[in-house]
């Protein structure tokens, strides 16, 4: 009984003193408001609920996600601007011994030859020239 906590637990005067502060009853409007909200909530379309939905995310997680998104978009922008050329190697023609040519294929401009492998190249013994008429021309 020396513990002041316990003393107060068993002190009827203390309890009576605190209980002097009473709470007024809630107004009738509370029930009316709640009824109206329940009716509205019951008929609310799913998209409205979705629009009103809230997502609670801890600040560190939100900051991390934001940083990641920022980093990814920055990276994407950098790749688009600084590396417009994609290396591509043109496979050798069907002719054996034809040179293997590497080109940089630009999305914005023409392709550039950057490397040609001439090893094993043999010039043809005979050249046959063929003129192909273009469609729509007379000659």
């Amino acid at each position: 009984m020396n513990d002041p906590m316990e003393r107060l637990d068993n002190d009827p005067e203390w309890k009576a003193l605190l209980r002097r502060w009473q709470v007024p009853p809630p107004t009738a409007s509370l029930e009316r408001r709640l009824e109206a909200s329940l009716r509205l909530g019951a008929h609310e379309p799913w998209w409205k609920r979705l629009l009103a939905a809230r997502l609670s995310v801890p600040v560190p997680v939100a900051a991390l996600v934001l940083l990641l998104l920022l980093a990814v978009s920055l990276l994407k922008v950098r790749i688009t601007h600084s590396e417009p050329l994609q290396p591509a190697s043109i496979p050798s023609a069907n002719t054996p011994g034809a040179p293997v040519v590497s080109v940089w294929n630009s999305r914005q401009g023409p392709a550039y030859v950057t490397h040609a492998d001439w090893s094993g190249f043999r010039p043809p013994d005979r050249i046959e020239a063929r003129i192909i008429k273009q469609k729509g021309t007379t000659q």
Binding site: M5, K15, L17, L18, R20, P24, P26, E31
Partner: protein
């Protein structure tokens, strides 16, 4: 009780728990309007998402206290300060036998108690409200305020000290101190 509530079941549940929820919110805010808002939101949120209540974890009464506590805390946070106790209120205890002077004193005392409780820091106030007014056990309070029983006890102890200081006239306090030292 199943977490799925039909209209009738929900109405019964509202009638059963409305006063607990409202009383708690009122004693935390000190006025009717925000207390009614919190009560409204508390029931509406259960109606919209009944899955939030898990009967295996706690009784519905404890669930409601925890839910309304969160709403009260959110409101405090949104306002960035304590909600002013505009009405500090309180209805005097009846039973003054028609003596107007006694009635006035009772009312003054009731208001003084209300002001003292509302002057407590929120973490101490919620513990006092749940323990002294709602008569929950320390373990129940601990689960509502998400703290351990020792912390709840410490907060209650500090709150009671604060209340005693605020509610005891200075002269009586000195007298009490003298008695204790003897």
């Amino acid at each position: 009780m199943s977490p799925e509530f039909g209209t009738e079941a929900f109405a019964a549940l509202y009638r059963e728990h409305r006063d607990h929820v409202f009383r708690y919110a009122y004693r935390m805010f000190g006025s009717v309007e925000p207390a009614e808002d919190a009560t409204h939101d508390c029931f509406l949120s259960l109606w919209k998402r009944p899955g939030r209540y898990d009967p295996a974890r706690a009784s519905l009464r404890v669930y409601f206290y925890a839910a309304v506590r969160n709403l009260v805390r959110k409101r405090f946070r949104d306002l960035g300060r304590e909600v002013a106790a505009e009405e500090v209120p309180a209805q005097a205890v009846n039973g003054n036998d028609g003596d107007p002077l006694r009635g006035l004193l009772d009312q003054e005392l009731a208001e003084a108690v209300g002001r003292a409780v509302l002057a407590l820091p929120p973490l101490q106030r919620e513990v006092v409200v749940l323990f002294e007014y709602e008569e929950l056990s320390l373990a129940e309070i601990a689960s509502i305020v998400e703290a351990d029983v020792g912390t709840v006890k410490a907060r209650l102890h500090r709150a009671r000290q604060g209340l005693r200081r605020m509610l005891t006239p200075p002269a009586s306090r000195e007298e009490m101190e003298e008695n204790r030292s003897e």
